[in-house]
Amino acid sequence: MASGAASGGSANTDTYEEARSWLLLPAWVTLVALSLIPVLLMLVYSFLTKEFRGGVIWEFSLAAYDQFFFDRGLFGDDPATLEWTYITIFWRSIWQAGAATLLSLLIGFPTAYFIATRPETSRPIWVFLVTIPYWVNLLIRTVSMKFLLRDQGPLNDLLIGLGLIDSPLHMVNTNFAVQLGLFYSYLPFMVLPIYAAVERYNFALSEAAADLYASKWTTLRRVLLPSVKPGVIAGCILVFVPSLGAFLAPDLLGGAKNFMIGSLIEEQFKGNAGNWPFGAAASMILLTMVLIILMIFARQQARAEREV
């Protein structure tokens, strides 16, 4: 920017300076209208009194947060103890999302590395291939996954046909199916940022490391990984965060037997409960958790940069 100003002449710069605040307007409108206002609305709703069968009464209340953290028995009049129900639901979701992220990383990193090391002309084709399945609607893909996994489905038929198993593996309505579904839903979000990072990586550094007698493993760990770490972190966040709130895969592949964060919140708005403040409170707690995780990542990255 500074060099542009020096060479461009002052009149030109002033026009840009003047226009700059206006040019930013669409971004601000989008940010405020589509992101800030809904979140603030949710924050306000979480502190209001619930109206029977959906809706809110404009009276301040902590009932939603109380319900989240304290158990008062079936009839709501026992002495309060710590409520494990919702903590368990949150923990289950975090665990599922974490497993899906790990699976995506294990498959996504080698895939991204492979694509980035192809000749420059063929790379777009590989990226294109990664994105093709994602032209199809997520619901359709999730249902198709269920068709593949079911007891009388093609995967079991194949395994039995090959003589690897005698009776069908029961995969539908298990945690494994949910993780597989989440992994499949969000894999490109892992591949693409890592690919972008590896593509920018200067492979001369790996050669230099090899010249200095570093083993391949050491080169990967001490040279390549630190350089592409921002891409890896971006990929992990992009897979983990949507997995945390997902309810399509848990409902369709997991059989909706247990609430996940997403389905718990959905039930408060679309189910019988009709408890909007509680749904809003659960969303705020989820939002806070995600923010904390992001801040930890950001701080780590800042520290790593300072060390370099």
Partner: protein, 345 residues
């Protein structure tokens, strides 16, 4: 050039006129998914010139939530189930149909004219009715299926192969029938028993699916599944070992109704649409498609003859009584919500 301009002007004028005509002549319907045959919708448009704009929902509760969250004033008519008509009327979401506004009101069968959830039919007309029970794959289990034990205390060959509807109302109503306690009971001992019974029963259940209730049975993913009778008839057509149960403890009866919404933007057209659905020939087309009963007089001659003998809509003599889902008071509903959370936690 001049000619081109005038052509363009005429064209845009025509477009504007067409759009105005369209805006005048539409009715906006909020309907269940996979329920009304498209040919019938087209017939209505052909007869009246009114365009039908349709959005769909997959549960009564989802429909209520979307109307309360700002859907009012958008839709003209909706199709709630029995208990939901009562809830919507209490919430003030329904408009009143004055006597004489519906020319075909006389076609309603006498038993559906005055119903508990809408006394005197001031907000609604019958649409379709049927039952909710469950189906069993007789290839997996050949014992007696006409008992709620199949769902809540199943024989070992069916344990872990049961799909329940993902709907608090349907599951808890059936559970109350199983225990022989009244729905929405306020008795603490009965509510505790209901909670305890469901905790034991849920270990036998494989999944909760409403949208795919038919598909899981047809594919063999589930050997037992809660299902509506018409959906059941369609499932049996695709897998003939499936059998619909009429438990001796009783089963759930429901009726969907077309209601006139408050602040309907096209009230006149909405009434025309309701009158259209009160014609025996038209409602028979819905019954023939959806395989449910109609609630009108003189429908028989238009019905697919097979419907009269459907095992899913003809309970055997041993069947218990059919019961509508009850609307609980706020305190009991809070306990029901807690019990449901316990089932799915």
């Amino acid at each position: 050039m001049k000619k081109l301009l005038s052509t363009a002007a005429t064209a845009s004028l025509l477009t504007i006129m067409a759009q105005t005509a369209q805006a005048d002549g539409q009715v906006v319907v909020y309907h269940w998914f996979e329920y009304i045959p498209q040919e019938l919708v087209d017939k209505f448009t052909a007869e009246t010139g009114i365009e039908v704009v349709m959005d769909t929902f997959d549960s009564n509760e989802a429909m209520l939530a979307s109307l309360k969250a700002g859907g009012m004033g958008t839709y003209d008519v909706s199709v709630p189930g029995d208990y939901m008509v009562q809830i919507m009327a209490t919430e003030g979401l329904l408009d009143t149909i004055a006597e004489g506004e519906l020319a075909n009101k006389g076609n309603i069968a006498p038993e559906w004219l005055d119903v508990s959830y809408d006394p005197g039919r001031v907000h609604s007309i019958p649409y379709q009715w049927g039952s909710t029970s469950f189906m069993v794959d007789t290839a997996t289990y050949d014992g007696d299926i006409d008992t709620t034990d199949i769902l809540f205390n199943p024989p070992t060959e069916l344990s872990g192969k049961i799909n329940m509807l993902d709907s608090q109302g349907e599951v808890l109503a059936m559970a109350a029938l199983h225990l022989g306690i009244p729905q929405c009971s306020q008795d603490r001992e009965q509510l505790k028993a209901l909670d305890a019974m469901l905790q034991k029963a849920k270990v036998h259940w494989a999944s909760f699916n409403s949208d795919t209730a038919k598909e899981v049975l047809v594919s063999g993913d589930a050997a037992v599944g809660q299902i509506y009778d018409g959906f059941g008839a369609k499932a049996r057509a695709e897998r003939d070992t499936l059998k619909y149960a009429f438990p001796t403890q009783g089963y759930v009866v429901w009726m969907d109704n077309v209601v006139l919404l408050k602040d309907a933007p096209n009230r006149e057209n909405a009434l025309k649409f309701m009158d259209f659905l009160l014609e025996p020939e038209n409602i028979a087309a819905v019954s023939n498609y959806a395989r449910y009963g109609s609630g009108l007089k003189d429908v028989a001659e238009f019905l697919d003859p097979e419907l009269a003998t459907l095992p899913e809509s003809n309970p055997p003599a041993t069947a218990g009584a059919g019961a509508f889902i009850q609307v609980c008071d706020e305190a009991t509903q809070a306990v029901y919500d807690q019990i449901w959370t316990n089932v799915k936690k």
